[in-house]
Symmetry: C2
Subunit: 279 residues, 2 copies
């Protein structure tokens, strides 16, 4: 396993972690000041800052972009909306290319309005990705399917296990892999096996960390800081690195009642300290 | 598929659904009045009523017992507590036998205090079940592992998919199967395949229904009435019945801010109406 204790070079900060306190420019400046190696911005923040300006700020700060958040959200109640979703994803690919992002994160989407048909939603997801894959390949932007926790299956992502995501990757071929977020997959009895499988096929494109709190009081906005919950972070990172993953560990914490309320400098310092000690 | 529209014979009421409004005696009386076929009581309610009295009331009312809730909760931080858990489960088996319950539901338990080791918790679960299985067989009480939604993996049950539960059943042999609750498994991409597998081995011991609301506002106490959410109830029941399941559909709804606040007669009437139309 790599030694993360002495440098921030392999740390990436997902900007959602301090998005309530700082805008993108402030986050870039904060990351640079702490010699953090990479950043993972969200498209709304890029848009607010301006793509050209954001790209230049990130480059000037010496930050890599571990991923752009996010494409996906494919399933639609009719063809017109589905096609809009495809166009939106192509735009996200353009932005990822401009930012030199190592991948475009795909949160694939849940059930369309008024639908209960999860099988259909899953077909739409695969169709949607197939529709943008050549465009992504031509733009040299790897697509990273992020399997989301099953509690988000209805409203955010109907791809809910690493196995399911890898099955899609295998059917679609080159240019697509997975983003593994411990929050979504830590419970999976097949996690180790499927990480090994992903490694063999070079499909591990990103690795995200935070923690699962007990109790968890909100389905979306109660993620924990690494070390404060029950996820065996080092065990999972060992599996991931044994499978050949050699890129950043990206910290992504949505926390309405704790971390989003704290001073951003304090959050950054604790992120860094936990990255060194428990990730 | 069986026609559920004309009778309540195949309906079972899990007593948790109206536990805030009525005690066990009142629930039994209400079920009998509506010609509901079966009931699934909780052990705390049995204890409050008294086992002998509860058994007689249920029998006199002509109700079957589709399951007793619940055994399980095996993982422990030390051997002494683990052994207490085994004894507690044997007592639950005795109660299930006395009540002529069709199965004892096992909510297997999550991580022991201060532990993050889910692999160890899963081993303890299997050890625990192995420890009580002969006792259950001798008492002619089938044990039903209920795989719980992955959002409960840390604190309630570390068995989180039907496949994982069936793997345990296959390793342990006769006298054990699964309780399938749509709330916990509806999202699973392998659900159909694993239901077929369970059917072949006669391992489907109970079938529970409610619904998954969008949005879901609480991890534990925001279950929906059948038809109010996004679960494809008829599709899943068809799979279950095609796999040979021929027992009750048990309604189990934990709902702190809606159904637990309504008059119990109203809840019963809506349960029955939805059972006839959407289950």
């Amino acid at each position: 396993m790599r030694d993360l204790s002495k440098s921030n070079e392999l740390l990436s900060l997902n900007t959602a972690t301090i998005k309530k306190q700082w805008n993108l420019e402030q986050i870039i400046e904060g990351c640079a000041r702490h010699q953090i190696g990479a950043i993972a911005p969200w498209r709304d923040q890029i848009s607010e800052c301006g793509l050209d300006k954001a790209s230049k700020l990130i480059q000037d700060a010496g930050l890599r972009v571990s991923g752009l958040c996010r494409g996906g959200m494919f399933p639609a109640k009719n063809n017109a909306i589905f096609n809009q979703n495809i166009e939106e994803n192509k735009q996200a690919i353009d932005e990822a290319a401009k930012l030199n992002a190592e991948c475009l994160i795909l949160v694939v989407g849940g059930l369309p309005e008024k639908s209960k048909d999860i099988e259909d939603a899953r077909h739409q997801v695969e169709d949607g990705i197939a529709n943008i894959l050549d465009y992504a390949r031509a733009s040299e932007v790897p697509l990273a399917i992020e399997p989301l926790h099953p509690m988000y299956a209805a409203d955010r992502a109907c791809v809910n296990t690493l196995k399911q995501a890898l099955d899609i990757c295998d059917r679609l071929g080159e240019g697509i892999g997975v983003a593994l977020d411990v929050y979504h997959v830590w419970w999976d009895p097949e996690l180790k096996t499927q990480i090994e499988r992903a490694g063999k096929n070079k499909q591990l494109l990103a690795y995200h960390v935070c923690d699962w709190l007990v109790p968890t009081t909100d389905l979306l906005l109660d993620r924990g800081m690494m070390g404060d919950g029950i996820i065996e972070l080092k065990k999972i990172r060992k599996w991931v690195e044994n499978a050949g993953y050699n890129k950043t560990c990206e910290v992504e914490i949505f926390s309405a009642n704790d971390w989003w309320l704290r001073p951003p400098e304090e959050v950054l310092e604790i992120v860094i300290s936990r990255f060194h000690s428990v990730v």
